[in-house]
C-alpha cells in the first residue's frame, strides 16, 4: 500500500497564472488533498484527472513551472497542510 496521509484533511491553496489561468478559467482555489497525493507531481496528475482544459494544461508534456510557498521546486516536492501551490508557464518578464 502506498504511503498516505493521516485522517486530518490536508488543505492547500492553488494559484494559476497567465495563459494557464485563462485556460483553466480560474486563478485561485482551495483544495483538500486526497490522502494519496503526497507530492507536487501527484497533485498535477490529480488535477489532470479533472479532464477537459485540466487534462490538456496539466498533461505531463506541458512546459509548466510550479512553486510551493513561493519557491520554485522540483516535481517530487512534498506537500503539507496550508501550502500555497502555484502553477504557471515559463516566465516572460523584463
Amino acid at each position: 500500500m502506498p504511503p498516505q496521509r493521516g485522517d486530518n484533511p490536508t488543505m492547500i491553496t492553488l494559484l494559476y497564472f497567465a495563459r494557464l489561468r485563462e485556460a483553466l478559467g480560474t486563478g485561485r482555489e482551495q483544495l483538500a488533498l486526497p490522502p494519496a497525493v503526497m507530492t507536487l507531481a501527484g497533485l498535477r496528475v490529480h488535477l489532470a484527472q479533472r479532464g477537459a482544459a485540466w487534462a490538456t494544461e496539466m498533461a505531463e508534456g506541458r512546459n509548466l513551472r510550479a512553486a510551493v510557498n513561493q519557491t520554485v521546486v522540483a516535481a517530487d516536492a512534498p506537500l503539507s497542510d496550508g501550502d500555497e501551490v502555484a502553477f504557471f508557464p515559463p516566465v516572460t518578464g523584463g
Binding site: 497567465a18 504557471f88 516566465v91
Partner: protein
C-alpha cells in the same frame, strides 16, 4: 525597499540621484531599462499587459539581487518592474547597480537582468491586430542565464 512592483512609471534620474547621494563611495552606476517594442516576432503590438505573482515576485527578485551581491562588489541595487497595461515605447523594467568600479556594476546588472528574465514570475500578454497572445519564453533567455553558472 530595493524591489518594487508597480503600475506607475519610474524616473531613473531620481533613483540614481538617491543612490549616489546615499553613498559617496559609489563610482559606477550601471542600469538597464526594458522598453515595450511596437513589433515582436513580426507582429505589430498595440498594447501589452503584464501579470505577476504578488509576494513571490518580490521574493524572487530579492533573491536574485542577493546572489549578485554574493558574486560582485555591489554598493547598492534596485529593481523596479511595472505590471498592468503598457504601450509601445513605455518603460517596463529598471535595474540599477552601483559599485566602486564599473566592471562589477556591469556584470551584476546584466546578471540580475538575465536571472530576472528566467526566474521572476512575470508574464507578458501582447495585444496585436490578431488578438491577445501570451508571449512565449525564449530559449535565448535561458541561455543568457546559463552563462553565469561558471
Amino acid at each position: 525597499m530595493n524591489v518594487r512592483v508597480q503600475q506607475d512609471d519610474f524616473d531613473i534620474s531620481a533613483e540614481i540621484a538617491g543612490m549616489r547621494r546615499g553613498n559617496p563611495k559609489i563610482g559606477a552606476i550601471t542600469s538597464f531599462v526594458g522598453v515595450v517594442r511596437d513589433i515582436n516576432d513580426g507582429d505589430t503590438v498595440a498594447t501589452m499587459t503584464l501579470e505577476h505573482y504578488p509576494g513571490m515576485t518580490e521574493k524572487a527578485i530579492a533573491e536574485i539581487i542577493a546572489q549578485a551581491r554574493g558574486r560582485w562588489e555591489v554598493l547598492d541595487a534596485l529593481v523596479i518592474h511595472r505590471v498592468g497595461t503598457l504601450q509601445p515605447t513605455d518603460q517596463i523594467v529598471l535595474v540599477i547597480v552601483a559599485s566602486t568600479h564599473r566592471g562589477d556594476a556591469f556584470a551584476a546588472c546584466e546578471f540580475i537582468m538575465d536571472y530576472l528574465k528566467t526566474r521572476a514570475p512575470f508574464w507578458k500578454k501582447e495585444i496585436t491586430p490578431q488578438g491577445g497572445r501570451w508571449v512565449d519564453a525564449r530559449i535565448s533567455d535561458d541561455k543568457a542565464a546559463e552563462r553565469w553558472k561558471t
